[in-house]
């Protein structure tokens, strides 16, 4: 997996076919960048920092631009800036063991690097949840204090293994109550009132976007796989910051059409006959080393399914009252696959292994995401026991390149591939 300049070797490399419209991702991205400029120019519009598992739709409904520190941290990593930003945050006293997204963001804000390199500006408000991790609220509160802007936090109860329906209903009640607090918070800081007509319009579009992504995933069940994790890791961007926005829907429609064309011809993202192993990737990608996904292709490995991007497209339903809507959204926030408890994780992983006809699973034991990494040993053991396929636990980090050891990872990946090969015989 080492980088080579040997032209002959490069010619023999297996190249993943990208979808014809994959380049159209630039339109939602440009729209998002343009909107930020517009929202920061017009005095009646506001900006916020938001995080994963926060109901971003609420921001668009209230004319608030949802800036996204995690998203910008991935940009910094892709532009090879994250390490210096992380080290800058560490020089401020933040421990090496803390979340690399958080430290990238702290470094980016403190050094005022350019947007194109992952920079981020001061917002009018900071809003977050702890649905994915407590890091979100610790990080966002520290930054809200530092920037001296109002801060709102959703406290999302934990859906632990064995939670019964009655308990779940109590948890939903708590989140719904906090929705009314959020509405009061937003209205206080924007001076605007809830427009229910706009709420339903945005939620309808959000549902449409989710459904399109889920349909894309249905087609990913095809053999050979038409769309790999190498592409979805970038393409899911509209789900992160543009739920309920038409430009993202338009992009997904084109992607879906491309995938349908590909599968109708019986083709996949790998060159014909080269797809040998279909793999699930669990966890956040190595944003500073996205080439890893393409390197896997050299072994005939395609990432046919990943819970991470799937998490951003839950099954949404159309609701007719505000209360029903809030209860539904509250449950969705708690029900994200990325944050499934161990029992639900095992149950769903085993279902996906069957549905996507997977030969193996790679679990990214992410040093920056302990909630995601806890229970991976049990998850791996259950999958190997119940489904009889190999599981590779790769300890690394999503945004800190210092954790990535080229040689060690290559050795482990090759061992994993040997196991998958042996398992096929």
């Amino acid at each position: 997996m080492t980088k080579t300049n040997n032209a002959a070797e490069n010619d023999s490399r297996i190249k993943l076919k990208t979808l014809p419209h994959s380049q159209d991702l630039k339109w939602p991205m440009l729209w998002w960048i343009g909107m930020e400029k517009l929202y920061r120019t017009l005095p009646w519009k506001k900006t916020a920092w938001t995080c994963a598992a926060f109901p971003i739709e609420m921001m668009w409904i209230y004319d608030i631009f949802p800036d996204h520190p995690e998203n910008m941290a991935t940009v910094a990593a892709a532009r090879k800036q994250s390490q210096r930003l992380i080290e800058h945050a560490e020089s401020m006293g933040f421990s090496r063991d803390l979340c690399s997204y958080c430290k990238t963001n702290i470094g980016a804000y403190d050094t005022k690097i350019k947007k194109t390199l992952g920079g981020i500006s001061k917002p009018d408000i900071v809003v977050c949840t702890n649905a994915i991790c407590d890091t979100h609220w610790k990080w966002f509160q520290i930054m809200a204090d530092k920037m001296n802007v109002p801060f709102f936090m959703f406290d999302i109860p934990k859906w632990v293994s064995g939670t019964d329906e009655k308990t779940l209903e109590g948890n939903i009640d708590y989140v719904v109550d906090q929705f009314y607090d959020l509405i009061a918070f937003i209205e206080k800081h924007t001076g605007k009132k809830m427009n229910e007509k706009r709420l339903y319009k945005v939620l309808d579009r959000s549902m449409e976007m989710s459904n399109l992504w889920r349909e894309i995933f249905e087609h990913r069940k095809a053999v050979p796989s038409p769309y790999s994790g190498a592409e979805t890791s970038a393409a899911f961007f509209p789900l992160v910051v543009l739920p309920g926005i038409q430009v993202g829907i338009n992009f997904f429609k084109k992607i879906l059409a491309d995938i349908k064309n590909l599968t109708a011809r019986g083709e996949g993202t790998m060159p014909k006959g080269k797809e040998k192993y279909r793999v699930m990737w669990e966890g956040i990608p190595f944003w500073y080393r996205m080439r890893f996904m393409y390197d896997l292709a050299q072994y005939g490995v395609v990432i046919a399914f990943e819970p991470y991007t799937y998490s951003f497209a839950p099954l949404k339903k159309k609701c007719v009252t505000l209360e029903e809507t809030l209860r539904h959204v509250a449950k969705l926030i708690m029900d994200t696959p990325y944050a499934y408890n161990l029992e639900r994780r095992i149950e769903n992983f085993e279902k996906w292994i069957d549905e996507y006809k997977l030969d193996g699973v790679i679990l990214h034991e992410n040093m920056s995401c302990r909630p995601s990494s806890a229970g991976m040993v049990d998850l791996a053991e259950a999958i190997m026991r119940d489904k009889g396929i190999p599981v590779l636990i790769l300890q690394c980090d999503m945004n800190d390149p210092r954790a990535y050891s080229e040689g060690q990872i290559k050795t482990r990946v090759e061992g994993f591939i040997e196991l998958m090969e042996a398992n096929k015989k």
């Binding site: 006293g93 063991d97 407590d134 890091t135 520290i142 204090d145 109550d177 040993v377």
Partner: protein
Amino acid sequence: MPKIAYFDTSHEMPLEIIMAAGFTPYKILGDVHQPNDPADKYLSNFFCGAAKSWLTEALAHSKEWAGIIFAQGCNNTNRHYDIWKVHVETPFLHWFGAPLLDNAAAKKYYRVELQRLISHLENHFGIKMTPEKIKEAIGQSNEIKKKLQRLSALRAEKDIPNRDYLAAVIKSLTSPVHEVSDWLDSEITAWKAKPAFPSGTKRFLLTGSDITYVEWMDTLDDCGIRVVRDDLSVGERFFATLISDKNDPLEALIEYYMNIPRPATRPTIRKRLDYLYKALGETKVDGVLSQNVKFCEPYAYDSVPVNNELKAKGYKVIHLERDFTPASDQQLANRLMAFVEMMEVA
């Protein structure tokens, strides 16, 4: 009296409910002198040593407990619950979803969670938990807290070794109430008879992650440091405030647990600082020792703004990132001694 053990990264477990159910609440603290090999099988090398030690203790001793209750605490408490549910044998396992917030919605939810805990205990153990029993437990709990307050106050006046204080709090968190109550009375008498605070010894406030073996306290004494105040969960957080005697005992518990000195696992940092300033205002100290168990994220996040603010106000602060075990204590001692020497020079 049988024990119900609880997993609590700070002081979120409503112990009075366990007491009212007829059990001794036993805070799982682990044993740093035991290797964590059993827990290492299930938790990777970048999880905090406390959680590993607690799991190791549970794997060895869970059969001695009538049950285990988890109180929502740090980032990974729910994940540990899932792992324990698979590997730790216990006839009774409960998740108590202590809310992070302290607003009206959180209070309402706290009551729901209290009632769910009570129902689970009643149904499983065939008991009835009346308001009177809970009030009685609150009374007992307050008695312990009052006695610990008296002991704690003596730290700044008398020559009380650091280990004696930590041992008293640990005993209070792990032993039957009646046993602790009598023992604390005798300790108060004994502590009062001790010589005056030793001159030349530095007075410190200790904050951050909990370190729960007494040898660490000896090390601090060896460095010329006497902890006279703290905001630890195995410390003042447990007894700093009392539970009110409201007619509705659940309301009293809700009010109490939402107003204890804030740990780093609960917002806001400002509220945590409020208690630190209160303690620093009440008791003159020479320095602040901030200790952070490696991989303990909440305190690692807090340590930067909290320590910066304390330093800006003129307090002398030393921050130690450390293991949960004594492995590197002597290296830390070197740093602490140098810090104390610098204070003396200054």
